[in-house]
Every structure is written in C-alpha cells, then in structure tokens.
Amino acid sequence: MTQVMLNALVVGTTYALIALGITIIFSIMKVVNFAHGQLYMIGGFVVYYFNVVFGLPFWFGLVMSFLIVGLLGVAMELFLFRPVMLRVKREEVTMLLAMGTAVFLESLALLVFGEKQRGVPPIATGIVELFGARLPTGRIVVIVVAAMLIAALMAFIGYTKTGRALRAMAQDREATALQGVNLKWLSAMGFGLGTGLAGLSGGLLVAIFAVHTGAGTAISIKAFLMIMIGGAGVLSGAILGGFVLGFLESVGYALLPGSLTFLIIFLIVICFLIVRPNGIMGKPWG
C-alpha cells in the first residue's frame, strides 16, 4: 500500500503540473487548450534532442523545453487564437481551432521526430527506501523538482505584479484593461506560461517515461479529467485534480488491468460531475 501511495504521489505531482498549465490558459482566455498534450509531447522531445542528440545537460534541455514550448504558445495566441476570437460568432470555434492545432502539431511532430519512442539516460541512479517502499532516485528527483516548480508558480501568480495582473485578468478582462494593464501582452504571456508548463512537464517526465509522438491525446484527456475533478479555471483545483487522478490511477493500476482502470475513472468522473458539475473547487459558471 505504501508503494501505491508513493506512486500516487509521484504521478500526482507531475499531473498537477500538467493541470496547472491548462488551467492558466483556461482561466485567462476561457479556452480549453486541446493541444496541451501535444505541447507536452513536444517538450519531451526538446529535452531528448538537447540531452541525447546534442549531448547537453538534462537540466539545460528542461529550461529550453519551457522556453521553446512557451514561445510556441505565445505565437499560437498571437497568430491563431487572438484573430479568431476577435471575429467569431460562436465560442465553439476557438475550441475547434485548438483541436486543429493539436492535429497539426501531432502530424508535424510525426514528420520531424518520427514514430520511435524516445527516452533520456537516467538523471540519477540508485534506489531509495522510503517507509518500507522502494523508489528509484530519479523519480524522487522528479517529484522534488515538480513540487518546487509548482511552489514557484504559485508564488509567481500570488505575489508578483505580473501574477496579480494575470489573476485580475482571469476575473475581469475589461476592468483590468481600465487599470492600464496591457492586455495584449499579458494574455500572450499567460498563454505562453500555460504552454510552457506543458512543455516543462513533458520535459521533466521524459526522465521517467519515454515520449513518443502519439502521446499527446492521452495526456490531454488526463488533463481534462483533472480540471473537471478540480474545477476548471481554479489553480488550487488543478493541483487537487492532479493528485486525485494520480491516486485513482495508481490504485487502479495496482488492482486492475490498464484499460479497465481508466474506464472506471471515467465513470467515477461522470458520476461525480452529475453531483458537482463545477468540480471540487470550481465556481459556478455558464
């Protein structure tokens, strides 16, 4: 059982990071980024290329995964989402745009990166015993880094000027604009921050799981599950959702075959949403 709980903790921490990225974008743009999983996958490949192909340190690759995927997000906001959101009659169009981007990125990745599964050499060796359960050191490093990143992100959003402006924008775009905040810059930056987190989590997790070009959809679906559990648009909800999913998944995998685990998780989430349509921490919205 301790083993299962520890696994849940490992998976949950990294999932929380994924959910935070999609939540940031949702809260400021009211767009669900269906391409989140694909951006995660690209982040993984960035680290693979820097670390394995170019022979640079893993940590350098990790920073680059944040920067490159973040910049990709800024470009997506500036050249795709913004022009469309200015002109559409119906909000569904932006969702479709995100889906189109997801397909585009995935097929492009297939061309550039190929079909092979890619991994990086272990970032740390050895096994640590914790409360009678055994965990590879690499995994411990990953959770610690992920936890530090989450803390840093929460601090950034909570205590810096930019973070406060982002929160204000999430609540009321117009009022924020009236206070002299440059929305154009801020929303591109927020989008970039969200996608950057996707890249970062992909880059970090490539140290544990290998990455392949088809990994995106599964990650996106997991991200949706997390924000539905936690409540869309709420940062604390995203973290909570990440841990809940990580827990369910770890317990399920320990007891059941893989496909049945997720089937049961889907059923649980559907039943849960009937009782609490806005998730655990979610505020009611339309």
Binding site: I221, F224, F262
Partner: protein, 344 residues
C-alpha cells in the same frame, strides 16, 4: 446549394410555407437524382473514388447528429463513441446470432439512442467546455469498454470477417438483393440513401416547431423553461436523435469494412465530425454535408503528398478557421441574402 438553405421557416403562415417549401424539396430531389446517377457514371470505373463518396455520405450522416447537438447549444464529442456502440451492436448480432443486417442497422441506432438517453439525461446538465470534455471522455470510455470486455467484443483483436448484407425481402418479395463480394456500388447507394434520409429528416426537424424549440435552448434555457418548455426533455430528445444517427452510421461502417476494432471510431473521429459541421457552417442543416464533402475531397486531393497529407490537411483546416471563422456557407450567405432570412 443556396436554394436548399433558404428554407422557409415554420413560423411563416401555412399558405406561404407550403408553396415555397416545395421548391427546396424539388431541388433537393433533383440534386439527389443527379448524385445517384452522375457519380457512378463518372467514378464508377474507379472503385477507390466511389468509395470516397460512400465514406463521405456515411460520415456526413453521422455528422448530422453532431450538428443537432450544436443546435441545442452543446459541443458533442461523444459521437464517435456512440458510432462505435452501433458498430459493435451490429457486429455482435451479425457474427454471433446471424441477425440480418437490415434489422441490425436500425437496431444499432436504437441501442445507441437508448444509451444516449441514459447517459445524456444527467450529462446534458453540463454546458460549454464541461460538456465538450465529458463527451470526449465518453468516446474514450467506449473505446476502453470495447477493450475491457473481450468475451463480448474480442478486445483489441476486433470482430472481423463480418458477412456482407444479405437479401432484404418482404412477403417473399425481394426489395434489396444480397450484396455481392467486391461490389462497391450497393454500398454507395446505401450510404447515399442514408445521407438523404438523414438530411431530409434533419430538415423537417429544423424547420418544425421542434427545431425552433431546440434553437431556443441554445440561446436561453431559462427563458425557454419559463415559457413552459421542458428543457431537460427536449435536450435529451435532441441528444438521442444524435446518438441514433451515430449508431446507424457506425453499423454501416462496420458492415462496409466488414470488421470492427476498438479503434474504428475514436476521439479524433469525434473531432472530425465536429469539424465537418463547422466547415460547412452551423447555421444550416446541410452544413455537415458540405463540410464533409469539402474536407474529404481536399483530403483525397492531398493523397499524393503521402506523408505530408495530414500536416497539410490540418494546416488547411486552421487556415480555413482563420479566414472563414463562421464556416464556408457563411461566405455564400454573405453575398446572398440579408441576415434575417437565414437565422434558421
């Protein structure tokens, strides 16, 4: 095309409605006849291209359902899931119990609609992105169900070697002869007929009072309920009709390909069904058909680019949204008639 979209509204006085209703019906039948005769004549020799049209027709049939859920203001990504359910119902009944395909086809739709009603009742309370995400999960859940119960579905191996549709006869009178092996034309006609029936029913529905009620749900559920409209009931009805389309379409594809796998319909297919509706335009019943036609033909035209096909295709899709965010038919419409006449 433009004539068919400028259907009269149910709200016009009956006299006006009936006389002008004949026009689109007549035109529609004319186009249908042309489709049934001209396409086999032109592409009959090329089985591959004929198949493209068969697939296009069946895919647009399924997309009509998605269109209907858009009409009530819900983004439905569960369509592939319900199509998969339909496909498995037919595959299991045909392969295990030897039930006739002609019974399985509507039955698959009915099973999908029934399940859709059961799942839809609670889930349809969700709106917007939540509904989109949960329906996406439903599609994924259907795939996992197919994988998880191999006793019934044979898991990842799938159900293969399904027989072709047999003879359909009534009181000893042959209505449809048995499908021959390798013949593509019967499937072309079957898909075309489904598409036309599907479109015809959608058009009747959309121009009727029920269509007006559905549109009112998209615009303001509270206001609709204050007028005595049972919002929950109508939502479920729309969703069940949508699932029926999915189930029938799924059964068709299972028989066309003579096999079903858990991956026959998956999340990406749900996305594509939605794309067809968007590309054609959400304001018009015929939108999914136009969208499927344009998208599938352009996809086939990209065939020679081989491995670049999907990249170019999705790139074009993004470009399409950038240039015409409200769908292809919205462009036709803009140059055509005033806005007021088209809010159907």
């Amino acid at each position: 095309m433009q004539k068919t979209i400028s259907m009269p509204n149910v709200n016009l006085p009956q006299s006006v409605q009936r006389s002008s209703a004949l026009k689109p019906i007549g035109l529609g039948l004319l186009i249908a006849a042309a489709y049934f005769i001209a396409i086999p004549l032109v592409f009959g020799a090329n089985g591959y291209l004929l198949n493209v049209f068969t697939t296009m027709a069946a895919v647009s049939f399924i997309s009509f359902g998605v269109w209907l859920t858009f009409a009530i203001g819900r983004i439905n990504l569960a369509q592939a899931g319900f199509a998969l359910i339909g496909a498995y119902v037919t595959a299991i009944l045909v392969s295990r119990l030897g039930v006739s395909f002609w019974i399985c086809l509507p039955l698959s739709g009915a099973v999908a609609a029934l399940l859709g009603g059961l799942i839809g009742w609670p889930v349809l309370r969700l709106k917007g992105v939540y509904f989109a995400m949960i329906t996406l999960c439903i599609t994924e859940a259907c795939r996992l169900t197919a994988l998880s119960f191999p006793a019934l579905t044979r898991g990842a191996q799938g159900i293969v070697d399904l027989p072709l549709p047999g003879e359909l006869s009534l009181f000893g009178l042959t209505i449809i002869p048995a499908f021959e092996k390798g013949a593509r034309l019967p499937f072309f006609y079957l898909a075309g007929t489904l598409m036309l029936l599907g479109l015809g029913f959608m058009w009747l529905l959309d121009t009727s009072r029920v269509g007006a009620v559905f549109r009112s749900l998209r615009q303001n559920e509270d206001l609709a309920s204050s007028l005595g409209i049972n919002v929950a009931k109508y939502r479920v009805v729309a969703f069940m009709v949508s699932c029926f389309y999915a189930g029938v379409g799924g059964a068709f594809f299972a028989t066309l390909q003579q096999n079903v796998y858990p991956t026959t319909f998956q999340v990406l297919d749900s996305v594509y069904f939605m794309v067809y509706c968007f590309v054609g335009g959400l304001e018009f019943v015929i939108g999914p058909l136009v969208g499927a036609l344009v998208m599938m033909i352009s996809f086939e035209l990209l065939h020679e680019f081989q491995r670049y096909q999907t990249v170019i295709f999705s790139g074009l899709m993004i470009l399409c949204i950038l240039l015409m965010p409200n769908g292809i038919l919205s462009v036709v419409n803009r140059s055509g008639k005033p806005e007021e006449a088209t809010n159907a």
